[in-house]
């Protein structure tokens, strides 16, 4: 299941701290998930207070 950061992101950076394989990058102000590097472990999903990380197939 793939994970995406939506506009609900508050830019707190928790997801990037949680991602040990550095699949979440900050570009200017926005955090994005590199879908090539991401292995869909879900670690970022559980720590997102804003509910800004959504799942898809």
């Amino acid at each position: 299941m793939s994970y995406t950061i939506t506009d609900d992101c508050t830019h707190c950076g928790s997801c990037a701290d949680e991602c040990q394989i550095k699949a979440i990058k900050k570009d200017n102000h926005n955090y994005t998930i590199d879908q090539v590097v991401c292995v869909e472990c879900g670690a970022c999903f559980y720590v997102c207070d804003a509910g800004a990380i959504t799942t898809g197939q």
Binding site: E18, Q20, I21, V39, E40, C41, A43, Q57
Partner: protein, 368 residues
């Protein structure tokens, strides 16, 4: 002892914000085993789990001989609904992306490396059902959708901050056991800088409705010049995974393994039913075990214990040792950590992990 018959493992905030004797973070085999060791002690034990239960986990889900022995000694028989087909795994076999003839080689078991393949090598289980059964056997209160945020120690009291159903609350406890896997938040709360010193390894898995020209009663390892992977059958679904390397991402490696299996072993894929991954670290390979601090213990992969590619046995063993160490500390006045570090099971586990890790290289596993 708490009622574990509730289906959704949900409790209200008022019940969660009580004082417990032991808080266990993580509902895998390590946490469940720690909780089981505390059964009958009169202590109030709560297991918190960040996922919704029953939660599945990326894992071959093969219960190897060492884990089977532990379960036989410490648990009732594994219930039927926990098993997947084929129920018994005969052993491990290897295929190599270097071998264009598609040769299949039988290799030793990967728990102690000394158990030869036999008809009763491993139990093939559903990890969601297996882990849930282990937790229920413990008799502890089990709460899901409950993320460990951090903890603070104040003398003998520990305040555990959690996020449960999108609300923050604090649980007070005397003892905390981190059974929350390789990306342990309990470990990070204790040692914030440790994670930055570790090398992290990504693994990616897909499940397919598929056929392949290989017997389903074996667990297969894929050896490769830069990395490795594995595949196994569970209820007619093929689970295939790959490990990332410096050379390529886990997803790219998996695509390459699919092509290899299609060309050499007749893999035919229908529908893809699951895509997911996990992240592990090199603590087991550095022998840099991290047992905790005072009244806070780390168990299983959170502590760095993995027997080569088998994490379940280490989790069960060190979980039991942690539970027993808490009980001993109540009588001795020493900290649980003092007992845990000296526990015979932990000492034995250290020795086994050290013995087993180098055998992976000897068997042709490459960590790129």
């Amino acid at each position: 002892m708490h009622d574990l018959n509730s289906v959704n493992n949900q409790v209200d905030i008022a019940r969660l914000e009580m004082t417990y004797d032991v808080v266990i973070v993580g509902s895998g085999p390590a946490g469940a085993s720690a909780a089981k060791a505390l059964i009958g002690s009169g202590l109030d034990v709560i297991i918190i789990e960040k996922c919704s239960l029953k939660r599945d986990k990326m894992c071959s889900g093969v219960i190897l001989p060492s884990a089977r022995e532990f379960l036989a000694e410490n648990y009732d028989e594994i219930p039927e609904h926990v098993f997947t087909e084929p129920r018994l795994i005969k052993g491990s076999r290897c295929v190599s992306t270097n071998n264009l003839q598609g040769q299949v080689v039988t290799c030793p078991a990967l728990d102690l490396g000394e158990t030869l393949p036999n008809p009763e090598h491993g139990f093939n289980v559903d990890r969601a059902e297996f882990d849930y059964w282990l937790c229920k056997e413990s008799g502890a209160l089990l709460v899901d959708n409950c993320l460990f945020v951090d903890c603070k120690q104040n003398g003998h009291d520990i305040s555990v901050r959690v996020n449960h159903e999108d609300s923050y609350c604090k649980i007070k406890t005397k003892f905390l056991i981190g059974a929350d896997g390789p990306i342990s938040r309990v470990r990070r709360s204790l040692f914030p800088d440790l994670d930055k010193t570790l090398n992290w390894i990504a693994l990616y898995e897909e499940h397919y409705e598929a056929t392949i020209d290989l017997e389903p009663e074996w667990q297969y390892w894929i050896l490769d010049p830069v990395t490795f992977g594995s595949f196994s059958h569970k209820d007619n679904i093929l689970h295939l995974n790959a490990t990332a390397s410096r050379a390529e991402t886990a997803k790219k490696t998996l695509s390459r393994f699919v092509e290899f299996l299609q060309e050499r072993h007749g893999l035919k894929i229908g529908k893809t039913t699951m895509k997911r991954g996990i992240v592990m670290n090199d603590m087991p390979y550095r022998e840099s075990y991290c047992l905790g601090n005072g009244n806070i213990l780390l168990v299983g992969e959170a502590a760095g214990f993995v027997r080569a590619l088998d994490g379940i046995t280490s989790a069960l063993v060190t979980g039991k040792a942690a539970g027993e160490s808490v009980l001993k500390s109540l009588q001795s006045g020493l900290t649980p950590l003092q007992h845990y570090g000296e526990h015979s099971l932990v000492q034995a586990e250290w020795k086994i992990c050290k013995e087993v890790q180098p055998r992976l290289g000897e068997l042709g596993f490459v960590f790129g």
